[in-house]
């Protein structure tokens, strides 16, 4: 065996351990899951959207619009009376539809009279994730097709009309209904964009804190073992809970400090992305009160406690500083899963299995809290806080137990002899 191959073999044996391979597999599974979700988006975009149509106009141009919609969408409600909007919304909502389009009386006359014809769109928004607004994009495309077909009709028939109107004969009036709130003049895309800019900061900051502070806790345990200081520490007249709390609090302080620094940078970054959007969601009743911010803070605090306790459990398995570094990978994966899921879908629009997974991961809760509170979903937030607090208490109990066993020093527990 050559010196080189001997060295390579030794290095591979040291690098490819269970501790490095398992987190890599977990990360691969996450990306595979992500692929499934993005594949789902394409599938969703290919489907005909479910809509309702109320056509109050009896002119030829509304007929074109109606024909386009009937041809490319699954129309579950069809009426000619504007008084039926509520019934249409209920019917479309029941069928998991996306919008009710109202073509008002005088639509055709308005266009022939050199004014754009207004189409009133009532959007039924179910969630504010990227995937939740895919269907609205399909309906938007259909409206573009209507626009195109009417333009073609006007040009073919050589109607004497303002060229500007001929090219853009229709316009939308939008109202979005989301979680019981009716927001006039806003489309789901705008709402999703604004909600993302408002609530994306918490998930990213939360992930940063967990990874940074978690890494500090795990490394601290690894360093105690590597520097051979742990045994001395454990024989001092100090309670195990004080040792554990001390490590958690110090890491949390450093983690929070780093979070503040990240927050400035990330806040500036988000500001640059959303500077073009002038909509103030507070005008539509979408603003957080002091008690809401208190709940978000509480959610962050208990999650940090739970996360760092979990890191202490992992830290107990660290043999040295090097092995401690690889142990942070499962925590990173756990922090990334909810961040990515909530980016694509709202909690309420997820399948039950994913809802259970998301709820079970403690890091999900502060990530979902802001958006949930904007729509007064206190049950999810308070339920989450209670769950995470119980999770943290159980994890701290596990850590204290580990500190009282041999596992911390000898890497295994006592087996009872029969």
């Amino acid at each position: 065996m050559s010196d080189l191959s001997n060295m390579v073999k030794k290095e591979l044996r040291e690098l490819l351990t269970r501790q490095t391979i398992i987190p890599m597999l977990v990360m691969a599974l996450i990306f595979a899951g992500m692929g499934g979700v993005t594949g789902g988006i394409t599938e969703e975009a290919m489907k005909n959207p479910i809509i309702g149509i109320i056509n109050e106009d009896d002119g030829p141009l509304s007929g074109i619009a109606s024909a386009v919609l009937n041809g490319w969408a699954e129309v579950v409600y069809n009426s000619t009376s504007g008084a039926d909007v509520q019934a249409a919304l209920e019917q479309v909502n029941e069928r998991d539809g996306v919008a009710v389009l109202v073509i008002p009386e005088g639509f055709s006359d308005s266009i022939y009279g050199n004014s754009t014809g207004k189409i009133q769109v009532y959007w039924i928004m179910r969630g504010s994730g990227i995937m939740d607004s895919v269907s609205t994009g399909v309906v938007d495309s259909l409206i573009q097709v209507i626009n195109h077909e009417i333009s073609k009709e006007l040009i073919e028939k050589d109607v004497s009309i303002n060229p500007e109107v001929a090219l853009n004969p229709t316009a939308k009036n939008e109202t979005t209904i989301f979680k019981g709130k009716e927001m006039q003049g806003l489309s789901p895309v705008v709402i999703t964009g604004m909600l993302s800019s408002q609530s994306a900061t918490v998930p990213v900051i939360m992930m940063m804190i967990i990874i940074t502070a978690g890494s500090i806790v795990i490394s601290s345990m690894g360093m105690e073992k590597e520097n051979k200081t742990l045994e001395t520490l454990l024989t001092l007249p100090v309670k195990r809970s004080a040792i554990i709390s001390g490590k958690i609090i110090a890491s949390a302080v450093v983690g929070l400090l780093m979070a503040v620094i990240y927050m400035f940078g990330f806040g500036y970054y988000m500001q640059s992305l959303t500077s073009g959007l002038e909509v103030n969601l507070a005008d539509f009743g979408l603003a957080l009160g002091i008690q809401d911010y208190a709940l978000v803070g509480l959610s962050v605090f208990v999650t940090l406690l739970a996360g760092l306790s979990l890191c202490m459990v992992l830290g107990a398995f660290a043999k040295d500083y090097k092995s401690a570094q690889t142990l942070i990978l499962p925590i990173t994966a756990l922090a990334m899963i909810p961040m990515l899921i909530t980016m694509f879908k709202d909690f309420n629009t997820l399948p039950m299995a994913l809802q259970c997974l998301l709820f079970a991961i403690p890091f999900s809760h502060p990530m979902m809290a802001m958006r949930a509170l904007l729509f007064d979903d206190y049950l999810l937030v308070i339920g989450g806080i209670i769950y995470v607090a119980l999770f943290a208490a159980a994890t701290v109990a596990v850590v204290v137990h580990i500190f009282k066993t041999d596992r911390l020093l000898v890497g295994r527990t006592r087996k009872k002899r029969k």
Binding site: K228, T232, L234, P237, K239, L409, V410, R412, R414
Partner: protein
């Protein structure tokens, strides 16, 4: 009063039995030595007495307190120096002593404790340097200073002079003897038979998880007609 009372102590690591029902007592006020070859179970026994490890069966008491049921109380009376112990590398020697002293005393009392630790360690100005820059001998002296500055009723020292040169080892032995004069009971383990003979009032010889001999160095030398403890040791473990 008995400083340490070990009765039928058994310790298993999984299916491997490290201690096979050992019993011995350490009287208050002297130096008791545990000697034996590698893997005899000395360190495991010291770790159990120091409340670090659980017990499979048997009992261990330190000044009458059970090391499992009353671990917090036991920790108030003991000071443990592991064989390959280290200190926090980013602290200076003095800051390290202050960190430890804060667990025992407050204010002036803690300051006096640190001064005592600095005196025992005898590192001069280097006490204000980071531990990371210390040689092995300096580190050991700092740790002996840490272990004895708290004036424990029982100091458990695992190979206290391990890796030290002759001069440093001699210094550490003197410190240990001084501590005994001030009322500390010492329980130590060592491979160095000369050191054990020089320091210990009583010794227990361990081999493969059992205590195979116990007595004063003089008694054992007479029993085996040996010139020194090394010969006794070789005879017993053969």
């Amino acid at each position: 009063m008995l400083a340490v009372e070990v009765k039928d102590l058994v310790k298993d690591y999984g299916s491997f039995r490290v201690l096979k029902g050992i019993s011995f007592n350490v009287d208050e006020g002297g130096i008791f030595g545990l000697i034996g070859p590698n893997a005899a179970g000395k360190t495991t026994a010291l770790r159990i007495i120091s409340t670090l490890l659980q017990i499979t069966s048997g009992t261990v008491k330190v000044f009458g307190h059970d090391v499992i049921k009353e671990a917090d109380l036991v920790r108030q009376h003991i000071s443990y120096l592991p064989e390959d112990a280290g200190a926090y590398k980013n602290l200076t020697g003095k800051r390290y002593l202050e960190f430890i002293a804060a667990f025992f005393k407050d204010g002036d009392k803690a300051e006096r404790m640190v001064e005592r630790g600095m005196k025992i360690a005898d590192l001069g100005e280097r006490i204000n340097d980071k531990v990371d820059t210390y040689s092995k001998g300096m580190m050991r002296r700092l740790l002996v200073g840490r272990a004895l500055m708290v004036q424990p009723r029982l100091a458990v020292l695992d190979e206290p002079t391990s890796g030290l040169d002759v001069v440093n080892a001699q210094e550490v032995r003197k410190i240990i003897q001084e501590a005994v004069k001030e009322g500390t009971t010492i329980l130590l383990s060592s491979h160095n038979m000369f050191e054990v003979d020089f320091l210990c009032r009583r010794i227990a010889l361990m081999n493969e998880g059992e205590i195979v001999e116990e007595g004063s160095p003089r008694e054992l030398k007479e029993k085996y007609s040996a010139a020194n403890l090394e010969e006794v040791f070789a005879e017993v473990v053969r």
